[in-house]
């Protein structure tokens, strides 16, 4: 599936805005991304969130990625 | 730290004169306790003057009004006679801090703290007020403008205490006013301020005193500004001249509260506005 990269993440994926990864859960997606782009580790250590069809998940690694869904990798946000 | 609460001014002066360490007078404490909290002062002796009866009075006699050094802002505000005679003085004193601060703060404390931005000081100077100074050996009476000599510095010798402020008697058509600029509506230190006191004769300004705050190391009495409006009906032209004279007399600094340019410009603006209020209070039209 297509995974959209935002923010500083693109720099560790050769500047690509969209990468093709096949994964069924958030956990699998992140580990496959790291395999392909080891440079992403420094961004992931600062926290990461995944948006599936517009809903942002911060702590749900087991969340399923439905086929055809819109996936965005976002920085983990901080709030007040 | 020793805490003393004498009952006469003489005793208070002696205590301070004899102290080898750092001695402070405690009136309202609204500056002193802040200095202690923030570590700017570490007194060895504090002399509370609020138990001295002579310092607790507001007395009006034939020669004028005497305001004791321990009289708080809220007590000044409650004094209707004083408010009628010197509205500018009372409003200046009442601008110092919140109602809570007014419950404690005194004009003499404001004067002796010697901040260039002290609110009551330009009003007192414009009014021609005098300070009664009591030392271990003698008493003297000096114009208020002679007390502060620079930021945090006064002309008072060791052991000398200001016992009261004497305001001249009000006669004829006279009015005073004090305005300050602050960014908020309350709780700020004046960025720049102006006190104006004037008398009228046949609708024209007969005498005037204009004093600015926070535009130099001490409050600035601007004689040229007074001159500009004396003899006038306070028309725009003389007001503009006065404002110019005020701005010319400014030697401010740029700091966290305002810039040189800002203070210089607004000093004239406030002097104009204060003059108009004083003129109206004096019955001018």
């Amino acid at each position: 599936m297509q995974v959209n990269l935002t923010g500083s993440l693109r720099s560790s994926a050769n500047g690509e805005a969209v990468v093709e990864i096949s994964a069924s859960t958030i956990r699998e997606l992140l580990s496959k991304l790291l395999e392909t782009y080891p440079g992403m580790e420094e961004h992931m250590e600062l926290g990461i969130a995944v948006s599936i069809d517009g809903e942002i998940y911060r702590d749900s690694p087991s969340k399923k990625l439905p086929a055809g869904s819109e996936i965005f990798l976002l920085p983990r946000l901080q709030g007040g | 730290m020793r805490y003393e609460a004498p009952t006469t001014t003489q005793e208070a002066a002696n205590l301070i004169a004899r102290e080898k360490g750092e001695a402070f007078v405690l009136a309202g404490g609204t500056d002193l306790l802040v200095r202690m909290k923030t570590g700017l002062s570490d007194p060895t002796l504090v002399v509370d003057i609020k138990h001295i009866p002579a310092m607790q009075d507001v007395k009006t006699t034939d020669s004028g009004t005497k305001i004791g050094a321990a009289v708080s802002g809220s007590r000044l505000n409650a004094n209707k006679k004083l408010k009628k005679a010197w509205p500018g003085i009372v409003e200046a004193a009442n601008l110092i801090g919140s109602d809570q601060i007014q419950g404690r703060a005194t004009m003499v404390g404001n004067l002796c703290n010697a901040s260039p931005a002290a609110d009551s000081v330009p009003a007192m100077i414009a009014a021609g007020a005098k300070a009664v100074v009591v030392g271990p050996k003698k008493r003297r009476t000096v114009p208020v403008e002679k007390i502060a000599t620079g930021p945090g510095k006064t002309s008072l010798a060791k052991g000398e205490i200001v016992e009261s402020i004497n305001l001249p008697k009000r006669t004829g058509k006279a009015g005073d006013a004090y305005l300050r600029f602050i960014p908020r509506t309350e709780m700020d230190i004046a960025v720049v301020s102006a006190g104006v006191n004037l008398t009228l004769e046949r609708g024209l300004v007969k005498t005037a005193r204009v004093c600015l705050g926070a535009v130099g190391p001490t409050a600035v009495l601007v004689q040229k500004a007074a001159k500009a409006i004396i003899g006038s009906k306070l028309d725009e032209e003389s007001l503009d001249k006065m404002a110019e004279a005020c701005s010319a007399a400014c030697t401010p600094i740029s700091d966290k509260r305002g810039t040189v340019e800002y203070r210089t410009k607004v000093a004239g603006v406030l002097a104009k506005r204060a003059a108009k209020i004083a003129f109206k209070r004096a019955g001018g039209k």
Binding site: G7, H43, Y57, L74 | F181, R257, Y262
Partner: protein, 751 residues
Amino acid sequence: MTHDQSFTNQKFKLVGSRVNRPDGVDKVTGRAKYGADASAPGQLVALFLRSPHAHAKIKKLDTSKAEKLAGVKAVITSADLPDHTAGAQLDVLENCMARDRVLYDGHAVAAVAAIDKETAKKALKLIKVSYGKLPHVTDVDEAMRPGAPLVREDIFTRGVDPKPTEPSNVCKVSTFGHGDIEAGFDEADVIIEKSFKTEQTHQGYIEPHACLASVGPDGNGELWVTTQGHYTYRTVCAALLGMDMAKLKVTSSEIGGGFGGKTHVWIEPIALALSRKANRPVKAVMTRDEVFKASGPTCSTSMDIKIGAKKDGTITAGSAHIRYQDGAFRGQWGQLGAMTAFACYDLKNVQSVGYDVLVNRPKVAAYRAPSAPMAAFGVESTMDLVAEAIEMDPVTLRIKNAAKEGTRASYGPTYGPIGIGPTLEAAKNHPHMRAKLKKNQGRGMACGFWFNFGGQTCTDINISADGTVNLTLGTVDVGGSRASMSLICAEELGIPYDQVKANIADTSSLGHNDTTEGSRGTFSSGMATIFAAREAIEEMKERAAQTWDIPVEEVEWVEGEARAIGQKNDNLPPLTLKDIAARAAATGGPIAGHNEVVADGAGVSFASHICDVEVDPETGGTRIIRYTVIQDAGKAINPDYVEGQFQGGAAQGIGWALNEEYIYGDDGRLQNAGFLDYRIPVCSDLPFIDTEILEIPNPNHPYGIRGVGETSIVPPLAAIGNAVSNAAGVRMTHVPMSPPRILKAIEEAEA
């Protein structure tokens, strides 16, 4: 104040009503206990020694004399603390106590615990520090210049390709957006390009950081602390000090304001370390001056905004380059600003680039919708300039370009149902928009966006024998959430509001809860409360079934009672919650409901604000004449407190817009570390603040809750900026718009 329920699609009995908070009496009688209000027998007083320099090497640090002073029980420097140089916690601990360099004015270098304040003060004076001053930089633009003093030598810019080989103050570059902005600008009839600056502000909570720490030699510890997240404090403190999490019990006191500033540890790990060393309880309370210098304010910023539009109002492209300083420690605030900058709009071509920059200032922490107000100031000011250039009403321009369901957000994902359009329509139709303005007055409006969070949450419900209900929550109540949670609990169970008593648990009594931040409290704990209540209801149905001796499938829960379904059960009178509770001992023991959840699907939130100001053209003094907040709250659980959040955020924004700022001297030292010269609005500065609550339900929450705490601070800088610019006749680009800045702008425009 209006409360528009037309968007609500659910009917509630209790939720949405204005109820008195359960902690009200405690708080109006002085009985409520805050961070500094707890004491323990034998407690010591902790004080901190802090750097007077913006940037310096600690050449020598000698505490021996202080340690020998009678009454001093412990002295801590970084030498006494674990070295986390290699770990993820490095920044955190180094901020709490400087290691070999001080990085900002106020950075702690040592702490003492003594029998009383006098002794502790004396001890601080006996600590000898010899500093080697280093060049410093406090301005974000200056810190980015080549040759600027380096705040840290180990930071290399992330997010650029190829990886840099030289260290830099720019710790991160983050790009968001889609489309082709160059092509977009080519299509534009009008392009507006403008630069903006905002100064650093502080959350300004009235309660300083305070805690009471107690650690014994057996490794058991307790921490009473004012915090937005006592579980987070436990996690961080345990990691920093090498303690077992289960053995450190953290209790959140009543919290005297946080707004993001109490999401992070400051003095707390050091208080624990002092207590461990002294083997006595230690109380640490920051002075106000310390709060300003050494807690976590928000960033100062500098940015360039460019927006292109067609004459008909269609925005063809938007770009933002925003530079945020993170203080002396790596942060992600510029990145967050870049994400929010254009979030209100439906743009084909958009790009925002965020720079995170180090300077010699305190570590930046979250402040209410962190990073969003500044970016909104730039974008929303530029929007007004675009409107002016194409001669279109500013609200109409915004409505034309507003994001809607299905819009691809400028930060990436596609929006679900959202409220920006409705808040703008409400603004357009608000009577405030038609009110007459007098001389020297001006009106401005602006929009704002915030994400809202969910996150890890855990809640217990325990039903007492008399039918009253304990609701145990783990999200700190920062502004009345115990009332909202009680409403939700009572709604689900079908019982009166005052039959529920909500408590905030300590870390040893309930599972982990994320910090109350990101407007997540009501959303997340609300969700967990609903699920926990439903679990308790299932249990009560079981008990009723047992009592009646019928299958549980024949029991339903309606209006606070179990009812037996079906004709054959007609003879069974309903069992109320009280009836069931009274028989609990005989039907299987205590009745409880529990829920642990990662609350996902928080709904984004939007607001539109309208503001009238009067500017004195001779002094630059500005007064707020009228202010209106319109915001989508999702379902408003307790409208009184929703309005309170709207008004409070607006007031903070007003202070930021007009007067609040950190003022640093050339020496890199903070000049206004107190409420006298850090000027937050006072009562006489403000008018009544009108509010209008829109309730566009969040489809991902059983009650439609979104979260309301933060969005209200996003529009004010720009709304006031637009109003002041309209009143003074000159565009203001530097926040705060203090009187000297306004007067200068007026004079420059006249010249």
